[in-house]
Symmetry: C2
């Protein structure tokens, strides 16, 4: 928590896909992982995440399955699809292009490429 929330716009999908690149995860776990990995810069809200997960599933970038843990609690795990991995790669490229452009305008080291 600290960065302007609107900066986040558009990169959340990429971050979610990235988290799922190496292992299946459930929603709550993603929130915690994102918070941990970003040194508390990102505090993804449940109200943002779950609708997003559903839409990503509809677009076939993710699949889900339920798993019962400790006799009662049911967790919904999400798994990235090949299509999702492809989208992640596209998003990553866009991200690099975008940040390079901003940095160039800011006058810092640019590393512009296209």
């Amino acid at each position: 928590m600290s960065v302007d929330k609107s900066l986040l716009t558009g990169s959340t999908t990429m971050l979610i896909l990235k988290l799922l690149e190496s292992e299946d995860m459930y929603g709550y776990q993603m929130i915690e992982e994102l918070n941990r990995k970003s040194n508390n810069v990102f505090e993804l809200k449940a109200g943002t995440l779950y609708p997003l997960l559903h839409s990503l599933e509809q677009k076939e970038l993710l699949t889900s399955y339920e798993e019962t843990v400790e006799k009662a609690r049911v967790r919904k795990y999400y798994s990235i699809t090949p299509k999702g991995r492809k989208r992640l790669e596209e998003k990553r490229e866009e991200w690099q292009e975008y940040t390079a452009a901003v940095n160039q305008v800011l006058g810092g080291a640019s590393f512009a490429r296209a």
Copy 2:
């Protein structure tokens, strides 16, 4: 043109303030400059810019003055205020914090420096 538009959200204010850091400019000029400096990655739309300029002026981050050029055309120049410079510095820091966090999640070189 090319990056996901939603990535832009929130950074436009910073980019505008940055443009005005070194010289006064008028709206149309900002659109062109931003396009040029970003190698056509940013195509700021007039419908985005003008309302934004007005709101920045209301927040006293900018001031404006009109100047008649070539006997007829009136250009509206915008000038950054001390308050605007301060805001620019804050935005720049946020931007660095935010990109460091994203890069860290992406697993690339992080250069985190909260």
